[in-house]
């Protein structure tokens, strides 16, 4: 099967509608959230129509069917990521944001002696290109515990500066949390050196895989990281579902985060003990229909083949980069070619503010994002308070890239009137 974005687009009901009075929808805001294929929409509604019940709780047929569907989704996620310990290593959260906060709070709950206990004298390492979701939870953990925060800087070539790696990941470093792919620059970070150094000093490595899981094949064993987080909604899945993966031995030692039903072993008025992983981390009636929908989304991606998806997106990115290089007064914020970069293209246009560019693009049916993209420290480091971001996905094609570039040229003409 050859890869056909036009064919794929037919699976996504939203492309049947138009925007801005009859214009074709050119959706290039995939870094924010992806559109959903019919199979995902229907798997969520079929759950409600046919099997809806509280998992793990009821003594009846519906509850068993719901449990099978929910636990089946866990198997799908585990297989998709290549989780070495299987489905029990997959924890469902509401979003990557919750997954990362879960880690920071759970580590904050660790008693002295627990390997995750963080205190004064310990270091937590991030990078300058983190999304706020992988920065502020660690800022807060250091503020609560007295640990210090350190970070890798970003070079003029939009790459992590690993030249000082031994000074950043020091012997007292406990946690290294980095993004796999920047949601602004598109940069795909090299992990091998970071993982090696972190493990050398006994630190755990957390991967924010929000922008990589939807776009490339992930093999956890090959990556060598200890924890991984992503959101379903950026990977063709429903809103309201996220994933945290961790090595079973680490999840066993990690204290719980949310407390309530289904995560307990035994409860008295004053004490409680915890169920085994993953239940330990899933308090309450879970987001069942959304987990099932995520399973359908990952199945959709697996059917296409993640290597095919990635190859297609890289080729399309190359096409768009070339077209953009030809636009006068346009500056790409991120790597200039497709080497170790994904299909997230941020840019600025001399003399026109990103918000105005975005507005003009919208009037042409082209959906992008503008601003600091929830990575404000990066924007400051680059002295680019705001940029415009076009982010590609599997249903985009060259005609979408053409529409974007035409609209940029149109904007230059429109705002150049004066």
């Amino acid at each position: 099967m050859s890869f056909s974005a036009a064919q794929i687009r037919k699976d996504f009901p939203i492309f049947e509608r138009t925007v801005c009075e009859g214009k074709r929808l050119v959706y290039l805001d995939n870094g924010a959230t992806s559109q959903k294929p019919l199979s995902v929409i229907e798997s969520e509604s079929d759950f409600y129509r046919l099997h809806n019940a509280a998992v793990h709780r009821g003594a009846h047929q519906l509850a068993e069917e719901a449990t099978d569907a929910y636990e089946g989704a866990r198997e799908i996620v585990a297989a998709f990521l290549g989780a070495p310990g299987g489905a029990d290593e997959i924890i469902f959260t509401k979003s990557a944001t919750e997954s990362l906060n879960l880690l920071a709070y759970a580590m904050g709950n660790a008693p002295v002696g627990n390997r995750f206990a963080v205190g004064a004298g310990d270091r937590i390492v991030v990078t300058e290109m983190e999304h706020h979701a992988n920065l502020i939870p660690w800022q807060q953990l250091t503020a609560r515990t007295g640990a210090e925060l350190a970070w890798f800087k970003v070079t003029a070539e939009s790459r992590l500066d690993l030249s000082t790696i031994n000074d950043v990941i020091t012997a007292n470093t406990k946690i290294v949390s980095v993004t796999h792919q920047s949601n602004v620059l598109g940069t795909i970070n090299p992990l091998a050196a970071i993982v090696a150094r972190a493990h050398e000093v006994g630190a755990v490595v957390i991967l924010d895989a929000c922008q990589s899981v939807p776009h490339m094949s992930i093999d956890i064993k090959a990556l060598g990281v200890d924890f991984l987080a992503f959101s379903g909604h950026k990977a063709l899945g429903p809103t309201g579902i996220g994933v945290l993966w961790g090595h079973m031995d680490l999840l066993n030692e990690l204290p719980p985060f949310l407390f309530g039903g289904s995560m307990i072993e035994n409860v008295t008025m004053t004490t409680a003990t915890w169920a085994p992983v993953p239940q330990k981390f899933e308090a309450g009636v879970p987001n069942m229909a959304q987990a099932v929908g995520l399973g359908a989304a990952l199945n959709y991606l697996t059917n296409l083949g993640m290597d095919n998806v990635h190859a297609y997106e890289v080729a399309l990115t190359g096409y768009l980069l070339e077209k953009m290089h030809a636009v006068p007064d346009l500056r790409i914020v991120g790597p200039a070619n497709t080497q170790s970069r994904g299909g997230t293209l941020s840019f600025t246009i001399k003399g026109i503010h990103p918000h105005d560019i975005g507005q003009y693009l919208d009037s042409q049916g082209v959906a992008v994002r503008t601003g600091h993209h929830c990575a404000w420290p990066l924007a400051r480091a680059l002295s680019i308070p705001a940029s415009t971001r076009a982010s590609l996905y599997l249903y985009n094609d060259e005609s979408d890239c053409d529409a974007l570039v035409d609209a940029i040229l149109g904007a230059q003409k429109y705002f150049g009137r004066f």
Binding site: E21, H353, P354, H355, D356, Q359, Y360, S363, T370, G371, H372, W376, A379, P385, A386, Y414, F415, R417, F418
Partner: protein, 150 residues
């Protein structure tokens, strides 16, 4: 083209040729306001002569709407009393909340009635109000400072 009701000539003109831009060396109060969703920023200096707004100057970066709006605002409010300014601010806020249903009062808002067009674009209302919110804040602080409450 609908876009033209947003980007009217007078708006783009203020954007290209901003008024009162460049901060005064002294001030009764200085405030910095940021649009948290896009990072746009305005620093506003206010000089109060008793109840009279004797000078309003600003610095900032942002989109045409936020920059034009603060430029027009400083034009409008300079030389007014705080009471007169409050009336104008209220009228402008109401216009921006109107979702395109109000034309704005030209006797109060003068040129700024062109923002009636902007009020149709919910995503840009925040941009329009950035400078005005800064002014509200600055006026309160300036009065407090002048009363020696700093």
């Amino acid at each position: 083209m609908e876009l033209d009701s947003l980007y009217q000539e007078v708006i783009l003109d203020h954007y290209k040729h901003p008024q009162h831009k460049g901060l005064s060396p002294t001030f009764s109060a200085q405030v910095t306001h940021v649009n948290t969703s896009c990072g746009d920023e305005i620093i506003l200096n206010i000089n109060l002569d008793n109840e009279l707004i004797s000078e309003l100057t600003w610095e900032g970066q942002g989109c045409s709407i936020s920059q034009a709006s603060v430029s027009m605002m400083t034009d409008l409010l300079t030389g007014k009393t705080l009471k007169q300014a409050a009336v104008i601010v209220k009228s402008f806020s109401e216009l921006m909340a109107s979702k395109g249903t109000s034309a704005g009062d030209p006797l109060v808002l003068e040129d700024a009635v062109v923002f009636a067009g902007v009020s149709k674009f919910p995503g840009r209302v925040k941009c329009s109000l950035l400078g005005w919110m800064a002014f509200k804040d600055a006026a309160i602080q300036a009065q407090a400072n002048n009363r020696g409450e700093r």
